[in-house]
Point group: C2
Chain length 115, copies 2
Amino acid sequence: MSSESFATTPEPPYYAVIFASQRTDADPLGYYEASDRMIELAAQQPGFLGVESARGADGFGITVSYWESEAAIHAWKHNAEHTEVRKRGRLEWYEHFELRVAKVERAFAGPRADR
Amino acid sequence: MSSESFATTPEPPYYAVIFASQRTDADPLGYYEASDRMIELAAQQPGFLGVESARGADGFGITVSYWESEAAIHAWKHNAEHTEVRKRGRLEWYEHFELRVAKVERAFAGPRADR
């Protein structure tokens, strides 16, 4: 169950897009539908490696998507449907966000040795 | 209020430690106390830039801490109190975690132009 929350990523290097956001109270159904759709759409993009996401009851959330390359991130940014949805996010769903693009240099998992 | 959830970071480059974790049901009070203490302690470390954290009702969470350099991350890893608390995390608090160290290359904020 919970293992679906983790992204299964290859050995570094690869890229991470760290998206921290504070939700407004507006349009929760529209937001959830769009959020699910964006994950579905991202997963179809070349170079998509996975995504991890958490949001607390206070509406503050972090979504990290993982990508093979900067070029894959660039292509996803310019996807037409994604671009439309980002506009709605800016206007309706997010009070504030911080987006950071980072190159993952090393990684490990725990607490079990077999993963 | 919500703006306290965001880390105020300098212009890139800097480093991010992306910690995704699934909590067990064990010892919630001990976990919260240790979590607060670790943030307090991290904030005293040289090279600490900030932290962002979110956890959903399902116990899956993401914490991203930001650091000036790899050396600052290394020093924090080897902090004695932090090392002790990480052992408790592996034994008691986390069903699984994924930790990734990444170099932040670019960043921007929204939706307002004044931030």
